[in-house]
């Protein structure tokens, strides 16, 4: 991994400040972040917890590929994408994207691009566990079989 792009799938809780510190840079005036959190309700069913499974080495590779693509579109200083694996209780963060840039527009747009493409392409799967069972989810952005 480069010293400007940080990608990690981890079973540890995600700490926003730690990830922001990774992308912090005295030359970069803007840091934008996206923080995805387990919701307590999905389609009126009570979610007890989420379980994330990932094809870890490929997920990290896909995320680095997405970052490379973002870097062709915007001038970005540093980037970080952290995604949790395993059990994530309600109210805890499952994903954090953080991007620094000289000007604000770049980091804001890159964060949106990165989380959208993560949802579309990263080999990561979410199982929602309800009080009455569980189900593997599917993102709306999902790539279809060709």
């Amino acid at each position: 991994m480069s010293n400007r792009d940080f990608v990690k799938l981890t079973s540890e809780p995600l700490i926003l400040q730690d990830i922001v510190d990774l992308v912090k840079d005295d030359g970069a005036g803007a840091i934008s972040t996206f923080n995805g959190t387990t919701r307590n309700i999905f389609e009126e069913k009570s979610v007890i917890r989420l379980e994330y499974e990932a094809y870890v080495p490929m997920a990290e590779k896909v995320l680095l590929d997405i970052i490379s693509e973002a870097r062709t579109k915007w001038d970005l200083t540093k980037t970080a994408i952290f995604h949790r694996t395993g059990i994530v209780p309600v109210g805890e963060t499952s994903v954090i994207v953080a991007v620094s840039s000289v000007h604000r527009k770049e980091s804001i747009h890159a964060v949106e691009f990165l989380i959208n493409h993560l949802k579309e392409k990263a080999p990561i799967w979410k199982k929602e566990v309800y009080s009455d069972g569980s189900v593997w989810k599917e993102n709306a952005e999902n790539r279809r079989k060709c």
């Binding site: 993560l118 990263a122 080999p123 990561i124 199982k127 993102n139 790539r143």
Partner: protein
């Protein structure tokens, strides 16, 4: 010893096969297998996997491959069945 490749199952594919990976031998007459033949072979091995393969992708050595690509599975490859993803 026969030539093998590895296949990985995730999410619904893992539930259907009740395994996270297995090694599969390549046919002795040919050291390569098309994606179409791979799909047929997997459907035979795991009946419950058939409907899942209809809407899954393959990745070979951590790269997505399209079904219509002239790509062949070869000895030592790591092939993954990628059901619709839901990260984020």
């Amino acid at each position: 010893m026969s030539k093998e490749f590895t296949i990985l199952y995730y999410a619904t594919a893992r539930d259907a096969t009740k395994m996270s990976s297995e090694k599969i031998p390549l046919p002795s007459q040919s050291p390569f297998m098309s994606l179409k033949d791979l799909t047929m072979l997997l459907k035979e091995r795991h009946k419950k996997l058939a409907p899942i393969l209809e809407y899954s992708l393959y990745a070979i050595n951590m790269e997505y491959v399209e079904n219509d690509q002239a790509i062949l599975v070869k000895e030592g490859d790591e092939v993954a069945v990628i059901p619709p993803v839901s990260g984020g």
